[in-house]
Amino acid sequence: MAEPLVVFFYGLVTSLIFALYSVGFSLVFGVARVIDAAYGIWYTTAAYLVYALVTRLLLPLPVTVVVVVASMVALGISYYAVLVRGLQEKVEMIMTTFLVALMAQYLIVAIFTNFPWSIPALFPGSTQVLGVSLFNQQVAAAITAFLLLLVLWYLVYRTKMGLAIRAVAQDKEAALLMGINPDRVMAFTLALSCSLAGIAALLQAPNSVISPTMGWPMLTLAFAVVVLGGMGDFFGAIIASFIIGFSYQLITNLVNPLYSMAAALAMILLVLWLRPRGLFGRSLE
């Protein structure tokens, strides 16, 4: 039986990382009206990128961070320009992005094989907090995720680009008439979401093993967050991330890690059934 404080701390770390990751999925849904079935694979891709940079090329930490974020931004923009931009119909969209995810995953298998490689901690060692020993990697992840969520809030609610993002999310045509270029806003949103997936991998993957399928559970959780919090709702997504993050850690520590996904699915179905617009009812659909 784990100590309550440890469960609380890991719940906090998990929730913050889920929030960072899921806000990206939620924004892409709300703004670009895209359900990105490949959103899990961006997480996997970034994790393998971190692995290649850290353990194969032995790059120092700051360079790794810059390269990963820059690559994910470039990936997001080209993903939008080449593929997502031309997709109109929802089912076609999911099918296409799912096939992209399959290709990317099998490409990763072909390059790195299915072997569970491990990434060393980017912040090695551990710290004593309130008498509990915590890995520095997790402490760093929690602080970084918290700061980035603040930056994200500022970006969405206090900048001109954020205003444009919310305008496009509300009404694309009206935004166009107000002189906003929806194409640019959507490309920006996809770049943002891909880099958020990359940063989540950067925070979560070190100090553990990586596998080509590691992104699918993350996509499931992002989906659960978005169903619970409402599609495209920034604060809803963050509150939902905390509900899911803490339930996930409680089930993992007190019951059995193998039941965590079943709990997430049960939650998704229950909310879809009883409150299809999300717990806070502010969803776009």
Partner: protein
Amino acid sequence: MSAVRPSHLAGIALLVVLAVLPALPGMRALLFPLTLTNIMATLAIAWNLLFGYAGLLSLGHSFFFGAAGYASAILSKSYGIPVPVAMVIGAAVSSGIAALVGLPSLKLRGHYFVLVTLVLPAVAYQLTNALDVLGGHDGIFGVPPLVRDSYAVYLGSLFLMLASLVASAFVIRSRLGVEMISVREDEEAAKALGVDTPRVKLYALMISAFLSGLAGAYWAHLNGVISPSVYELEKASMPLLMSVLGGKGTLLGPVIGAYVIQTLFESLKIEAIATARLFVFAAATFAIYRIFPQGLMGVLRRVIG
């Protein structure tokens, strides 16, 4: 329908060739791969009935395949129920779970359902791993076979595929089939014309899950073992790749796709290509989906017509 068309004769001839070919001397090595192909084709037919006709995309048909396989394996092994009966009950279990999962998500717009199907096999994978009743990580061994003779098993798989094809054709030509296509084309318009869209989608899902379940149960009894790996993404993506490659929304497309992919799969067992072949299939399907949305059937039609 009354006149015998040349295409019907060609189909019957092809069936006879398929039935006899593995029985010829020196061809016995084909028995197992072809049995597998027929099972995968049945799964692809079931998937295509849902996506190609009702427009409901499922990314987790491995769940309906695997759940029925598990149910049938347990019923026949632990409870001594005759294999054919166990297979039908197993498929009914899949169909029942499909209804439970479908009810909350099918009332909403299509994409919620898609995301739910994506989660299903992942959950099943974890649960079967966790529960000792379901055999845990190792799965269930010693599942009794349908019949001992492997040629009879092969003929059975051919019959299963044919029966699913006929059942699909029957559904498509019924009132339900017309309603399914109306939902696919324009759900709002179908609703406005008085089609009970959640009910139509639910029936389509249950029929598709039942057929997938039959395929999965057949597969479990063929192998004699079923383990959580049945829920891996590879199985879930196969019916999709096969149907899109062969031609979604056509009766024979999934069968053609299944035969093409399984043949390539078996012949590309060379070490160097083996790791990349799944990538090649995914890339080929992606290209075909984007460039020829009608798949190989569409290409065939253009060449013949």
